[in-house]
Amino acid sequence: MATQIQVTVSPALRRDWLYHVQDWVTTVDHKKIGLMYIAYALIFLVIAGAEALLMRIQLAVPNNTFVAPQTFNRLFTMHGTTMVFFVGMPILFGFGNYLVPLMIGARDMAFPRLNAFSFWVAAFGGLLLYFSYFAGSGLYGAGTAPDVGWFAYAPLTARVFSPGHSTDYWTLSILISGIGSIGTALNIVATTLCMRCPGMKLSRMPLLVWLYLVVSGLVFVTISPLTAAQIMLLIDRYLGGHFFDTQAGGSAVLWMHFFWIFGHPEVYILVLPAFAFANEIIPVFSRKAIFGYPAMVAASVGIGFVSLSVWAHHMFTVGMGAGPNAFFTFSTMVISVPTGIKIFNWLATLWGGNIHFTTPMKFAIGFLFQFLVAGLTGIMLSVSPFDWQLGSSYFVVAHFHYVLVGAILFMIFSAFYYWYPKMTGRMLSEKLGTWHFWLFIIGFHLTFDFMHIPGILGMPRRIYTYEADRGWEIWNLIVSSGAIFQTIATLIFVYNLVASYFKGEKAGPDPWDAWTLEWSTSSPPPSYNFAIIPTVESRRPLWDRKHPEEPDAHYE
């Protein structure tokens, strides 16, 4: 029904690759920027995944010498830093960039040029981090990547313990990508508050957009202390400051507070977009409206606020004393209440539905089960005495990978299968998608279910090898074997992304019979998104259009 406006480009120009390069480099279109975010994150996903694979080969058997200790320490530092800052954040910002304007009926983000700037700054940050492999030791040495761990505890980052420039690359790349994150967050807040189409009150905004609003608010509050800490670290390293320099009276614990007041909300910055995808995908394939929309909004905003008061549960073993330990135990437990509401509301959405097990839905269901487990192991870790045992052990590693892979990555895969048709105009292969799903879920459970056990048996994280007499061997071997399945599954996924772009079934504007505004325009959408800005009367404008006899507006 949308009127198409044709922008003509001469055929000769279309064949010129420089035209396309220039087109992408200079674009301020939110969809192209979103796609570049996603592509760039996918490249880093493969790199950081390969780093994980190398670590699992090293840990498959005790006293292994596959990689040197220094190499291993760099691998886990780069894996963690890359996955959080250069995979998780950009891929979620990518989907946000692409989807938020389309879902609120806008033609672009509020600040298109800031948007492009944010992307290029963040992309530069990632390149800078990896440039350390060539230049980390300075002009005269060979390269070394940072090896201080992804949370880079002081005073390991002081110059005396971390000579050369590898730590500087780490600091600067995070500082720079943080500027990009703040820019994008600013853009999303301004877009959702100011650019909604007529009729789209806040109470009619898709839940995805609500969650991106909360995420962006969290980015404001949390990236700032992180950036401040990086600047303080640079002052310590180059201008003789002593913020974290314990040899000169500085405080190591101060760094921990700065880092975790960023670091814990960061988990929610990553997981709330996963909830956002689930909020859109689960209703469509259950063929039902989301259950309890107001409660879902309240729970999301609640999680946003509570997540700012839990950071020191990462510090139960630093000697804060009984009072603070009790406080942070309580605040951490409280966050399980709004999170529980979300799980129950998804369950209620499925209840009484007509559930279609498409590939996006399969990943979403995997997400539901795995997020449940991740939440429960999170409750165990919130019990601070339990954490005195489990903290810094492989149990923690298993727990947060359950969140990051089992919940977030599963929902990212789900989002790919769900929105790829909108982004490219072609469907991803369901057959390959099914292979991808089953291989990945087998690999995931082999790796991360069994990873809890060595933690309970006393295996600390970040060790490049381990003794053979602790009863950890069999578990580590199983954990490593799961990595093989995940690798194959990921390769199938990447192949599917590429092959379906050329040979995939044509999608049409609305392949899933869905209800939000992005499905009302063509696939892929034209550069202006909507020829005529839509007007909405409910939370599911396309439902209203498809069911004029019984529109949502009557029930909300």
Partner: protein, 362 residues
Amino acid sequence: MFFSLEMPVADLATGPAVLCGACGLTPGVSGAIVHSTPRLLAFVFDQSSTSIFAPQGTPARSIFGLSMLVLAICSVIFLIVAGLLLFTLVRYRHRRGYTQREPAQIYGSTQIELSWTVLPILIVVVLFLATARVIFVTQTAAKPSNALDVVVIGHQFWWEYRYPKLGIVTANELHVPVSDPTQPMPTYLTMSSADTDHSFWVPRLAGKMDLIPNKVNTMWIDPEKPGLYLGQCAQYCGVQHAKMLLRVYADSPGEFSAWIKMQQQTASQTPTAAAGRAVFEANACVNCHTISGTSAHGTFGPNLSHVGSRDTIASGAVPNNAKNLRAFIDDPAHFKPGVLMPAMHLNQHDLDAVTQYLTSLH
């Protein structure tokens, strides 16, 4: 109080049983769980010398009791929610011949939503109270007058132990008296670090506590049975974080006083090892190591006054014998790449002499 810390949680076989009963499972269900789970749990978790589920001291035991309660609650929640989810997926799956255009649209229900908000709040309150109890009992326990004081200092990548009241300084192998539950004799560890962050974690005795430079932390342990308790550094501290192993020897009263006596003596002066001592004192060894009764007063490295009496070298990395000791002095990075001790480049003769000297230091 439905759950009490003083409750004797004797071992793995009865612990979960008591707790399942305490947290209100019906006898039939808890019976079934109790009869199969502990044996399975014990099979997995008793195999390891560092299992947190095989406690041998009061702090580890109270954490274990709390852990079982938390595990039981979380398992019940998991079974209920995952069961409901599975049922929903099967019951409401799309079937061939589904005739309706769309299922009935339900937008929410305040009563139901209120119920699944209030119930988790109640669970949180229960969990928090049980947790707070263990936190305060462990962290604010009054120190008995007979407690032994040990100062623990973390170094890249080894442990220094000082017994200030006994005048002993040693490294890597901590000796403490066994603590009879009827007459407790806990050991209080006062901890800090000389360089980066470390963490002291011996899972069967207690939870971990970090060693942070410029900060003093304390924890206490009370091993119930004599023997060796293993662990390792649990906070990433640099290249050789993996080989910063912990060994805690719980000695019977007789053994412990004998050990104290031995450690308090000046390092032995075996005449046959005099050549080795001369090499030691003439080289850079003295800059980093101390051997009592000699000119070696360095404090960067482990105190070697009684190194011959230890079971391991290089912070538990390898057994202490003449062959390993000689190889370590020749090139420490052979066992621990990244270790801060440089290769000493001694000639074969000196190497043999120093090895013989260090082995004689009982």
